[in-house]
Symmetry: D2
Subunit: 314 residues, 4 copies
C-alpha cells in the first residue's frame, strides 16, 4: 500500500505549558510521552499509535517537519530509491532517533519543507480499545478530536519569477510517493497556474494540501471530527477557553468539509475539520476551482476573500 | 492500488416498476441506462461512474453478483493469476459484456457468491460536476444517497459440520484480493469461530461484510449518507413512502455507523449508513466482538437480539 | 398567565441508590436536597428551581403526583375556586409541606391521578447562571438533559362501559386550568372517541399527555434535549450504562419530536425528547390522528404497532 | 392570553421581483396573496395564518410596521385602554384594512416604530395540514424556513442626551403588552444603561429584540429553523443563490440560538435562527450581559466586535 496516512507533525511552540494546555484541554489530546530535550508527545483518542503531535520548545512558532506512515518497513527502502532517483537527497534516520519509533526516511519537499516517512511506531491502542469497543470513550476533554487528519503547507508561488512550489510538490508526491490529486485551484491566463492542490492517500479528500504564499511555511494542522454538530460544540469549547478563532464555523467548497480555523497559543493555525465529504478515489475526476471561484472554494458560504487566511501563517 | 471500491451490484427484483420507483423516489438514484434484457442501471448522485446498481427482472429477489473496481486494467490479469493459483476458477468476460463497461474477471467466492472485478466503466461525472462544484446538487429526490458503500453477504456457518464460509472468504479476500480485516465477531469456546467479518479496501470501516447463516444469500446492500441528521430525514422519507422498515434509526457498535435497515419492494434489504466512523487502516488493531456482546456490536443502543435480522435475507 | 409549566414529578422507586445513580449518571440530573422521609430531590442543569423530580422509596414503581407551577401565588386561589366550582374537591397544602416550596393546591384529575399546583419554589439558578452565561455548563454527566418537559398519564378508556378518562381530563384541563389541545388520536366509528390527547401551556407541543389504558397509571416522564444529535449521544450513553431501552431513536409523528424511550431501574418509563417541533399556539389547528394512522403518529418511521408501548406502564 | 406571537412584518423593498424571488427561492416562503397596491403577501410552510410577510414596493428598504397577534378580538379593546392610559395614542383600523385580516390596533412604540395588534387573520393551515400530518412537507424550496420568529428593532440610544429608547420600549412592552424580559445587555458605569433587550410572549427566548443605534430602524427579521444542521444547509443554499451573507454560521450567546445573518436584495437584514435554546418563562432569571462580554453574547464563538453588525441596518 505504501504511504497510509499522516503519522505525526513536529511543531515549534513558544510556551510549552500553554501549548500543552491548549492541545489537552481544548482539543482533548493526551500527553503520552516526553523526551530529554523537553519535547512533548500527544495523541488523539481514536489514534492507536503512541503520538501524532510533537511539541518542541522554541522561540518561534512553525513546523519542524511532517511524517507520514507507510504500511511496511521495506517500503522505506523502495521510497528512498525513487526519491533519490528523482534527484532529491534522502537520509535514513536510524530506529530510536525518536522514542517508540522505527527508522525514518528524511528528505526535503521541493517546497523546502522537511518530510519524513516511517513504518513503525509503538501501538498503544485507541482509548476505546479493540475488544467490544464503545463508539467513543468516556471522560473526553474539550473538543475530543479523533485524529490528526492532514496538514496544509504554504509553498512559494511567484509566477513572475517562474517559481511554483505548489506544482513541484504535486509532481513529486504523485511520481515518487503515489499520492493522488483530489482538488486544485488554478489561476492566471487560461488557468495555467496550479495555485493550490489537495492530495490524498487514504480515501478521503486530503491527507496534505499545498497553498500558495510568498515563502514556505505551515498554514495549518487539522484534526478530524465526525460532524457539523461536533463543529458547533468545538466552537463553544473554544469560546469557553477564549481560544483565538480565525474563522467561525463554515463549509469548505473544496473537500466539502465543515471547519473552524483557530490558533494555538504560539500562533500555529489549527483546524477542526468534520465529515468525510466524499470518497476520494484514484479515478474520481479532479475538482478544479477557477480564480474567480477560489474563495467560494475555500469559504463556501460567503464566497468572500479573507486575506488574513492567506497572509497569516507560521 | 488494486481494488479500489465496490463498483456495482446486480440485484434480482420481481416488480421492475416498483423497484425503479423505490430506488429513484425513495433513495434518490437516477436511471442511467437500460439494456435489451430489460435490466435497469442506476447511479447515485455522488458517483462518477455510469451505474452502481443493476436491477434484473426475475421471479425471486436476491443477488446476482457484486463487482469491485480495480485501479488499472492490468490489475485484472494479476488478480486472475493469484485467484487461479489459490485454486479458484476464473473467467475473463470480454469488454462489452455489459454496456459502458470493460472486461470483467468473474469467479465464485468460497461462500458461493459470484464476484467480478473490472477496471473500466464509462465516467459520466457526479451530479455536481468537477468544475467549482457545489457540495450537493439541487433537485435531489428522496433520501439522496451519495454512493453505494458496501454489501453484506450471508455465508454458510455450520460449525458442527466444520463449515465456515465466513472464515474462508476472509482468508481468500486477504490473500488474493488484498482486503484488510477491520472487525470480526467470534463465537464458540475460546472465541475460536469467526462468525462475522468486516473488510475494507477504501479507508473506511468496510467495503464488504460476511454474516453467518444457514445458506448463502444477500443480507443487504448499503448506501452512504453524511450524518445522523440525514438518517433522520431518510427515516422520514421512508415513512412518507410507506417503505417497510426493518430497524429504525440506531447506531452500530461495529463500524460506529448510524443506520436504518429497510426493504425494497422485492424484499432485498437496503441500508442507509452514515458517517466515516473511523479511519480504517492496515495497521489499525482489528476490533473483535465476543458472542455475548455480538448484539451490542450490531445494534449498539439496545444491545438486544433481533432474530429477524439474522433470519430474513434474500 | 396562570399555569406556566410542569414543576415537578413525585415518583416511587424501589431501590433508591439505583434510582439516584440512574437519574444522576445516565440523565445527568443533580441531587439538590433530601428530606427526613428519605425522599431525594433532583434537578436538571437548565432548570432554575430547586428540583423537578422527587424520588420516594417504595415497594412499587409509579407516580405519586405531578405538580405544575403557576405564575403568581394568587393564581392558586383562583384555580381553587374554578376547580371546586367544576365539582372537584381540592385541598390547599400549607407552605413548608415540601421543603423550599410554597403552598400547594392538591386535587385529583378525573382520571384519578393526583395533581398539585404551586407558585413558589426556591430559585437556585441554572448551572450556567444568568450573568454572561455560557450556552451549556462544563462537567455535564451522562445525557445532560435540560429540563423535565412533560409527562404522559395512562387514563382509563373503556368505551363499552362508557368510560373515557382521556376526554374527561381534556375537558377539565381546558375549562379549569386553561390548557390548550395540540393533538389528539381519535378512534371508533366516525372517530368519535378521543383516545389520546396532548395539551400545552408553554408554547411547545405538549406539557401533558393522556394515553388510554385499562387502568390509571404513569406512562412516562420526559426530559428535553436540543436535537437529534443529542438523541444519538443519549442512546450511546444508555448503551454504555446498560439501560433498558424500550424503543431506539425515532421520530414521533405527534409533536414531531425525536425520542428514545427507556426505563429507570424500578421500571418507570423515561423519555428523552428533542426539538421544539412546532410553535404550539391557541389558534393553531389541532392535529388529529385517525385510528389507522395512530402508530404512525406514535412511531413515525415504522408506523407499526408496538404493543408493549401501550401495555407496559407503572 | 393576550399577545401570542409575531403575526407579520410589513417590509419595504426596492425591486419586487428580486424580493419575491429571494423570499420564495432562498427562504422557501410561498406567495399567498397580492393586493391592488402591489403589496405581496407570503407565508412560511409551518404557519397556518395566510401571511407573515408583506412586501411593499418602495424606493428604499426598511420596516413599515410589525404586527403581533392576540388570542381574542376583545383583547384589542383592553390593550387600547392600557396603551392610551400609558399616554400613547392609538387608532383602531377597521376590519378589511388588510385583506383576510380583522381590525388592527395601531400605535407607535416609544422608539418611534409602528406596531399593530390584531386578533383575526384567515387561517389557511400549514403545508402538512392537521390530519395525520407529516413532520415536514414535500417539495420544499430553498431553506424551507418554518415561521417568522421575531424581529429586532434598532432604537435610539444616546446616554449623553439622556435618550434610551431601548429601556423605554422595555418598560412599555412590560407594562402595557405583558411581554417578559429574557435577556439584556447593560453598559456604562455600574451597568446602569440597558443597551439591548430581548423580550418574549411565547415561551422561547425572544419574540422581539431592541438593539441600540443612532436612529430608529430595522435590524433584522428572523425565521425559525429546527437545528444547527438546517443552518448548514441554509448557508449552502445561500451560497448557491449568491445571497449576500453578513455573518457565517455561528452561535449566539444571547438566546443560545444558532444563526446566519444575510440580506435580502434590498438590503433588509434577514436571519435564520435555529433551536429552542431554553424554555423562556416569566420566572426564569433574566440573563444579563456586561459591556465587556457583549460581543460574546452576540457572536459567542469569536467573541469579537463586528462593527458592521451594529452600523448597517435599514
Amino acid at each position: 500500500m505504501g504511504i497510509m496516512r499522516i503519522g505525526h507533525v513536529s511543531l515549534r511552540v513558544m510556551d510549552m505549558a500553554a501549548a500543552v494546555k491548549h492541545y489537552e484541554n481544548v482539543l482533548g489530546m493526551k500527553k503520552t510521552m516526553e523526551d530529554e530535550q523537553g519535547n512533548v508527545y500527544l495523541k488523539c483518542w481514536d489514534e492507536w499509535d503512541k503520538y501524532s503531535l510533537i511539541l518542541t520548545p522554541s522561540d518561534r512558532a512553525g513546523l519542524n517537519y511532517v511524517a507520514y506512515k507507510t504500511e511496511h518497513d521495506i517500503d522505506l527502502d523502495a521510497f528512498q530509491k525513487r526519491i533519490e532517483a528523482y534527484g532529491i537527497a534522502t537520509k535514513m534516520l536510524p530506529e530510536g532517533t525518536l522514542q517508540s519509533t522505527g527508522r525514518m526516511l528524511q528528505f526535503m519537499l521541493p517546497s523546502g519543507h522537511e518530510m519524513r516517512l516511517f513504518a513503525m511506531k509503538e501501538c498503544v491502542g485507541t482509548e476505546v480499545g479493540s475488544s467490544n469497543p464503545d463508539p467513543w470513550p468516556d471522560n473526553l476533554k474539550g473538543v475530543g478530536v479523533k485524529w490528526l487528519d492532514h496538514l496544509a503547507l504554504v509553498c512559494e508561488l511567484n509566477p513572475e519569477a517562474g517559481v511554483n512550489r505548489v506544482a513541484e510538490n504535486v509532481k513529486f508526491l504523485k511520481e515518487c510517493l503515489d499520492f493522488y490529486l483530489s482538488e486544485q485551484i488554478v489561476v492566471g491566463p487560461g488557468g495555467a497556474i496550479q495555485a493550490a492542490a489537495f492530495m490524498f492517500r487514504a480515501t478521503k479528500p486530503h491527507d496534505i494540501a499545498f497553498l500558495p504564499g510568498p515563502k514556505a511555511g505551515l498554514h495549518h494542522i487539522s484534526f478530524f471530527l465526525d460532524s457539523w454538530h461536533d463543529i458547533l460544540k468545538a466552537g463553544d469549547i473554544m469560546a469557553k477557553n477564549k481560544v483565538k478563532i480565525d474563522l467561525a464555523p463554515t463549509r469548505h467548497g473544496i473537500t466539502r468539509g465543515e471547519t473552524i480555523y483557530f490558533f494555538d497559543p504560539s500562533g500555529n493555525r489549527n483546524e477542526t475539520f468534520a465529515g468525510l465529504g466524499y470518497l476520494a478515489q484514484p479515478d474520481r475526476p479532479v475538482n478544479t476551482w477557477s480564480e474567480e471561484n477560489m474563495w467560494r472554494g475555500i469559504f463556501y458560504h460567503t464566497g468572500e476573500a479573507y486575506p488574513a487566511f492567506s497572509e497569516v501563517y507560521t
